[in-house]
């Protein structure tokens, strides 16, 4: 008797925990609210199956526990029942898969007006690059990276000169404007993840990966590395500040471009040579 009761309480406890949990997802701050909806749908269908199966089991425990003078039913198969269950399950699974695939289709197709952001990862930090007035990012190579060229931009690529370089682990984004995150890494796997945006993708050394989202809440968010990248993984944090257009434009104005950096370095070098001559 008590066996059935305890199992019943486990099921009841699970449901109550789910209803009253103080631990639940953060408020979504991007266009990916559909992912939350699919999760909710999966909770309804999956949770329903879980409860039904477990309650059926508990009922059997109450109703059919051992009695010496009773014999179990002898029924090797029930083709009809098995067929119904197969089709019902298939239907349920399809109902979950369809919205999942629809959202995935949105996830892999980036809107044309998305601004591209180069997110460069290393052990253990981030830095960011935005396209300049030409709207295009310059191409890069890992071997080009040095103190004078922190992003490894190909010097013969004209698109690179006006790229905006943000050598900080915090980046600002414009509210309600889609961004395409272009991820690359110079050493090991990383993953640029903001829980409130829901989206994520690994940065893989050797290739450029991408994903996109559209922030829809202003404010500061924490960036976490979501792919294990060695002993400093847990400390590899960054930040995002989502701003309205005007604030964002102001911020953007103050950032340095690649040609600014080159010019600055030339001045520095000239001074150095002057000093050496003296």
């Amino acid at each position: 008797m008590h066996v059935g009761i305890i199992f019943f309480l486990v099921i009841l406890g699970s449901v109550l925990f789910h209803i009253f949990t103080p631990w639940y997802w953060t408020d979504v701050a991007s266009n990916w609210g559909g992912m939350d909806d699919t999760i909710t749908l999966t909770f309804w269908i999956g949770g329903g199956v879980f409860i039904a199966v477990c309650l059926f089991m508990v009922y059997c425990v109450f109703k059919f526990s051992y009695k010496k003078d009773r014999k179990a039913e002898y029924k090797p198969e029930d083709k009809k029942l098995e067929k119904i269950l197969t089709w019902a399950t298939t239907l349920g699974v399809a109902a979950l898969l369809a919205p999942g695939l629809i959202i995935w289709n949105q996830y892999v197709n980036v809107p044309k007006n998305a601004i591209e952001i180069d997110v460069m990862a290393w052990q253990w930090g981030w830095q960011y690059r935005l396209p300049g007035e030409d709207g295009k990012l310059g191409t890069t190579k890992v071997v080009n990276i040095n103190d004078n060229n922190p992003f490894g931009i190909n010097l013969d690529d004209p698109f690179g000169n006006d790229d905006v370089m943000i050598q900080s682990d915090v980046i600002n984004l414009e509210n309600n404007r889609p961004v395409k995150i272009l991820l690359r890494s110079v050493d090991v796997l990383h993953n640029w993840y903001v829980p409130q945006f829901r989206a994520k993708m690994d940065a893989v050394p050797g290739i450029v990966t991408y994903y996109w989202f559209e922030p829809n809440k202003t404010g500061e968010f924490e960036v976490l590395c979501a792919e294990y990248c060695g002993v400093g993984h847990y400390a590899m944090r960054g930040g995002v500040e989502v701003q309205d257009k005007q604030d964002y434009d102001n911020w953007l104005q103050q950032q340095e471009t690649f040609s600014d950096l080159i010019a600055k370095q030339k001045i520095l070098e000239n001074e150095k040579t002057k000093l050496a001559k003296k």
Partner: protein, 612 residues
Amino acid sequence: MSEDFNDNKTIQAQSSETISGGGSGITPDMDYVRPAEVGEQDLYHGHSFITKWIFCQDAKVIGVQYFLLATFTGIIGLILSWLMRLQLGFPGLAPFMTAEHYYQFVTMHGMIMVVYFLTALFLGGFGNYLIPLMVGARDMVFPYLNMVSFWSFFVAVGVLLASFFVPGGPTGSGWTLYPPQAILEGTPGSGYGIMLMCISLILFVAGFTMGGLNYLITVLQARTRGMTLMRMPLTVWGIFTATVLAMLAFPALLVGALMMSLDNVLGTSFFMPTILKAGEVLEYGGGSPILFQHLFWFFGHPEVYIVALPAFGIISDLISVHARKNIFGYRMMVWAIVGIGALSFFVWAHHMYVSGMNPWFGFFFATTTLIIAVPTAMKVYNWILTLWRGNIRLNTVMLWCLGFIVTFVNGGITGIFLGNVSVDVPLSDTYFVIAHFHMVMGIAPLMVIMGAVYHWFPLVAGRFLDEKLGKWHFWLTFLGAYSIYFPMHYLGFIGVPRRYFEMYDSPYVTSAVGMNEFISLAAFIVGAAQFILIYNIVKTLKTGKPAGHNPWQACSLEWLTPTVPPEHGNWGDRLPTVHRWAYDYSVPGAKEDFITQTTPPSEVAHTKVEKT
């Protein structure tokens, strides 16, 4: 040539004589069983202590050896999990717990539990002990190879544990061993640690292949007369299919480990692109880190089913025996096992939705993954339908079965979240994943192992385990493990990433501190509860209630040996002859509520038994 042919004929003639000579002397046609096609196997009988108990060729002893060594390794994995939970629940409490150590413990815990504990225990342990007994063979078909298989496993475990004592310690690259970080500084154990891990895995795969060939060929070739494939207990079906998967999946792990070792030692670039490390460009170039992930998960996903399918098989048998009812929809169950096994090779990249592989793969792998939910759900339905109108003995074995159903359904449903590509995006690499796979392939298979231990201990040792201790063991484990992993899903919803040594003060996770402490405390209790089983075994080995023959009134062959525990050779003078499937429980009209597989139809002619 012609002589060989004659020999064959003699054997056939002899065997048919044996049939008609046996039994009561009158053998009606309805009891006819096809004669044996080949002669009986010669067995090597050990004479000294060493050949009987150490370098032993008896599959039952090898099974117990596998079981003990896997359990020993599993206890190490358990202790590592305690240390991890200590850090997560009470950071800073243990002064030796640095980030390096934390990641090393995470890695070793994962690899030990998946490969050296669960896989070795299900296939090496239960496979060796049960396959020959359940199909009515005298032993595995290649006993010597079987012995070598165990000792390869022994050396593999030795090499794995040796990595705790090399400079740099064991690898801390996560159990997935992803390059480039696995072999670059910045990950603990990137030199000797990962090298020993790869060597150990290679040895494990080699040893496992020897064992696996044995299981397959024994099932295919050494079944006794009358034991058709569709009369085999589901335990054998589960282990058999899992072994087929292992034979196809482990080679991918083997080449992955080998290629990564070459990258590490010889400086090849299979998985290594151009890399900038501490301001210097390393001498690698052109390799693909994602290639390793494909190789790893081509192994890694079938690996889940290598653990799950034997568990499915065993649980089916346990439920059937203790519910005194035939397993519902046996044929469906067999086809589900085979179908899940086949499908498991087409779903691997659902571990890689956000890995940076071409995202268009997501459509394919999400579809295949959700398709696999259908046969899996059918199995669940059939387990609970087996309970329906059964005559359920609520003993310790059945408790583990019920615990399995709850944890498996729970973990299976969270699998639908993660398999459904776009739902996976927010949840992947968070604690939701940790909770999911521990529930579905940690706790659920553990429930099966424990149920199986309480079920078959009377066969192996001839005595019952103590029921009272068993119930304490079950309730502490089940309720404890459920309260570890059920709330853990919600950490994942918050967005807490996995493999974090410390959360610092991330604004949105401060609320989770209390939960982490609770989970850690539960983990300490559940871990400690496992020692109840060890105490139970030690206590009852000498003083437990003697079990006698077929103590559970089961139908399958392993309970029908002339001696309990079975001796080397299993069957005394004559191999058993099989007349039915392993599930004729509660047949209307039968004297008792079970008809053993060896009972000829003429003895139960008056019952309403269906032909199987």
